[in-house]
């Protein structure tokens, strides 16, 4: 059993690495397909061709693609994603400072949407009737609301009108945990609204199916405490699609944080993508793509492991 699990993890890890490698190659090729060269980007519109050529030469832009890619890969595996063409700073250091912002946003929004979504979904499934319809309608409304619009409304209500939360900015946890939580509150709620609705729908459907199962009916007949029936047995049975939904939410929110980062002026990866693409900063674009891929692949890996753990049939296979 342990050997099977170790093999499974090893296989999945190798596939994850292969995925990252393929994306890295694609990102590298796409960056090279972009018009212009690093020299032209770093020196600007007025630069002479000689100056541009000199920079390109220094950066190895004229080397064969194969050589360039493996040189980049060699540095990347050691944590060095190159130097920004625009300001000459380390791409790795910049992304490392931005990752906690986006991760906080995505993780916070995922947790909040999971808590709200599961609560709403379980209630709708268990109560049924009018409450189910009301929750269904409410969830439908939440799904339809664009995150940007939700954010604008929340800022107006809770920052402009009542000063409950800050309207913009991000405070790192190490500076002040309380201000960190406050600065995350509105962006996290903004991002969580749509996610909660998605998870609520998923949870409702799964729970309805779970509650029909024979073993749940048996448990009811044996006077097992209600909370245990619902949250230990039924929810565990229903959890596979819910966990998958939550993982997808995290991936989606990680990529979609650019909306919240712009609206709330937060220095995350979304802001970095926007800046690096608009300034044509190839190493920075490449770095963000690779980091985002690593995150997505890692979440998928965890999801697979969680699925295996939750489903006895899969665990035994």
């Amino acid at each position: 059993m342990e050997v099977t699990m170790a093999l499974f993890i090893t296989k999945r890890l190798l596939m994850a690495l292969a995925t990252v490698l393929v994306v890295a190659v694609l990102a590298f090729l796409l960056v090279h397909a972009m018009p212009g060269s690093p020299g032209a980007v770093s020196l600007g519109a007025g630069a002479s061709q000689e100056a541009i050529d000199e920079v390109n030469q220094r950066l190895g832009w004229n080397d064969p693609l194969f050589t360039q890619f493996f040189s980049w890969l060699g540095s990347a595996v050691q944590g060095d994603l190159g130097i920004s063409l625009i300001d000459g700073r380390s791409v790795s250091a910049d992304l490392a400072s931005r990752l906690p912002v986006t991760a906080s946003l995505a993780a916070g929004a995922t947790v909040l949407s999971a808590v709200l979504g599961i609560a709403l979904g379980v209630t709708a499934a268990v109560r049924g009737g009018l409450l189910d319809q009301v929750i269904g309608g409410f969830v439908g409304l939440l799904v339809a609301l664009p995150a940007f619009w939700v954010g604008v409304i929340f800022v107006y209500l809770f920052a402009v009108q009542s000063s409950v939360f800050p309207a913009t900015g991000y405070v790192p946890f190490e500076v002040s945990p309380q201000d960190w939580a406050l600065s995350l509150a509105l962006p996290v709620i903004t991002l969580a609204v749509g996610g909660a609705a998605f998870i609520a729908r998923q949870t409702r459907a799964s729970m309805l199916e779970a509650l029909q199962q024979e073993h749940i009916r048996t448990l009811r007949a044996t006077a097992t405490p209600t909370w245990k029936i619902l949250y230990v047995h039924a929810l565990r049975y229903a959890s596979l699609p819910i966990v998958a939904g939550i993982a997808l939410q995290f991936i989606g929110l990680f990529g979609g944080s650019v909306i919240a980062e712009q609206l709330f002026a937060m220095p995350g990866l979304g802001q970095a993508v926007q800046t690096s693409v608009s300034t044509h900063d190839a190493p920075a674009v490449q770095g963000v793509v690779v980091i985002a891929t690593v995150v997505v692949v890692a979440v998928n890996l965890v999801l697979e492991l969680a699925t295996k753990f939750l489903d006895p049939k899969l665990r035994a296979s």
Binding site: A47, V122, V126, S163, G169, I229, Y231
Partner: protein, 518 residues
């Protein structure tokens, strides 16, 4: 039944818990404008772009970033509250008889962040970087530039002489912007260090709590003798790209001052903040091709004039730029050259446009392409509709890259950009007559003469006469097709900051002009 009740209770508890967390967090604070006190401990400015996206070399940016870099670097001359140039690192200056040599006498006792001292060698080392094409601030003074400096010579340890390729009366005004900012010895020797670390002698230094691209924290520089002229101990430049978010930051207290767009001014005022306004930036279509190389029709003045008549500027402003001013003048309304007559002379008249097109040999109009950016697309679509009404088909193509946008000056006949006219001679020489908007190298004797006259003008009357000629000719020739003048708006928390004042017509207030509310 028990099952259902308990579940509902459980769900309600989860929701209540979530709300409680929110309420507790709310008790923790959230600063409000009402709670802010007028103090001098810090000032937060919400700005609309990342001033240091190219790092901390002030010479890599243009005059529009002066306000940010003014905190970290001193200039050879300084912008005065009335908009004139006053002493800075150069305490005195003199021109030779024919205005081809400017000699600067430097201040004593100026220390840079790296510990180096100001002297003539350092100024020369700075200005000798002008051959580096990446230094935007030096583009006009580099070889072949409109205000070319041919040599920089050390006269004595405290005196340096700038020799120009041709007479440059009034050049000192350029030294009050980023062009005149001086970088310390380490920064000049190894410019790569400026990517992350500024090396200036300014009133503030960069605090480590800075988050690149998001929040730049400047704290008082104890070594600067001029630091006392700046009221606030700490200045934070907070980059907030979204205009509504900037207004929100101001009214909710995260910012003390914010750059507002015209369409957020009413909202900000309704929340009790102060707003100072100034004109000066004219959003203008620029004829890149006056010789007809890329679109033969543009080679004719009548065609360019037809476009002037074809555009309904008032409708454009009403629909897209509420609060701004429709513009028929190339120069802003507060400039010496503003000419009211142009508003009637080139008033909206599709009929006149059609008749001019017919006279030019294009009775059925013609077709051309313009390259748009995300910011300009909607304006161009409005113009496109007006031009279509007189028979001109303007295809609006979104720029696929910055390279394509830059290349448009050579590949398309018309462009669109905001132009700030704080230094009209600099704009004319640097961008219009010789610069990037004239890659086809078109000439116009009247424009050249008026620019020369303006550069040489010694008093207000002469400035007005020359600037009026320049403005009128820019419009009549169709080199400039102005659309509207954007107001620059500085919103400020009246409980913390005194009324914001602009330095002459400069759109960016001096950092030293922000003072606490009394």
């Amino acid at each position: 039944m028990k099952l259902l009740t308990t579940t509902a209770r459980g769900s309600a508890a989860v929701l209540t818990g979530a709300l409680l967390v929110g309420s507790l967090a709310a008790c923790g604070g959230g600063s409000s404008q009402a709670a802010a006190k007028a103090d001098t401990s810090s000032l937060t400015l919400a700005i609309d772009s990342d001033s240091a996206s190219f790092g901390f070399d002030p010479l890599r940016v243009s005059a529009a970033q002066r306000q940010f870099f003014e905190g970290l670097y001193d200039s050879l001359m300084t912008l005065q509250p009335d908009g004139s140039a006053g002493p800075g690192l150069a305490k005195e200056f003199t021109y030779n008889a024919d205005n081809t040599v400017l000699t600067l006498t430097l201040k004593d006792g100026v220390t840079f962040a790296d510990g180096s001292k100001l002297d003539a060698d350092l100024v020369k080392a700075n200005l000798d970087r002008r051959s580096d094409p990446a230094l935007s601030a030096y583009s006009a003074v580099a070889k072949g530039g409109a205000q070319e400096i041919t040599s920089v010579d050390v006269v004595s340890p405290t005196q340096v002489a700038l020799t120009f390729a041709k007479p440059q009366p009034g050049f000192e005004k350029n030294l009050a912007s980023t062009t005149g900012m001086i970088v310390g010895k380490n920064g000049v020797t190894d410019t790569s260090t400026l990517a992350a670390t500024p090396d200036g002698s300014g009133p503030y230094t960069l605090d480590p709590s800075t988050v690149k691209g998001n929040k730049y924290v400047l704290v008082k520089n104890d070594k600067s003798p001029d630091a006392s002229k700046y009221a606030f101990k700490k200045v934070v430049f907070s980059v907030v790209l979204d205009p509504q978010a900037r207004a929100n930051a101001l009214v909710s207290g995260q910012a003390d001052v914010a750059m507002l767009t015209s369409n957020t001014v009413d909202f900000a005022k309704s929340k009790g903040v102060g707003v100072s306004q100034i004109g000066g930036t004219v959003n203008t279509m620029i004829s890149f091709d006056k010789t007809g190389k890329t679109a033969p029709a543009f080679g004719q003045e009548k065609v360019r004039q037809a476009i002037q008549y074809a555009i309904n500027r008032q409708a454009l402003v009403d629909a897209l730029h509420k609060g701004d001013i429709p513009a028929w003048n190339a120069l802003p309304k507060d400039s010496a050259g503003f000419t009211k007559d142009l508003e009637t002379k080139f008033a909206y008249s599709p009929e006149k446009a059609k008749s001019l097109l017919a006279e030019a040999g294009y009775p059925n109009g013609f077709e051309f392409t313009i390259i748009a950016g995300a910011q300009t697309q909607t304006d161009l679509q409005a113009v496109q509709k007006d031009l279509a009404a007189v028979g001109i088909t303007m295809n609006v193509k979104m720029a696929a890259s910055t390279d394509e946008a830059f290349a448009a000056v050579a590949t398309t006949p018309l462009g669109y950009a905001p132009l700030n006219w704080d230094n009209p001679v600099g704009v004319m020489y640097g961008a219009i007559l010789n610069g990037f908007t004239n890659v086809q190298k078109a000439t116009d004797d009247q424009l050249s003469a008026a620019t020369g006259e303006l550069a040489a003008a010694k008093d207000d009357a002469a400035v007005k006469a020359a600037a009026s000629k320049l403005n009128t000719r820019l419009v009549e020739s169709g080199w400039m097709i102005p659309l509207y003048e954007a107001l620059t708006n500085q919103g400020y928390n009246t409980k913390k900051v005194a009324q914001v004042k602009f330095a002459g017509t400069n759109a960016y207030p001096l950092l030293s002009s922000y003072t606490p509310a009394s």
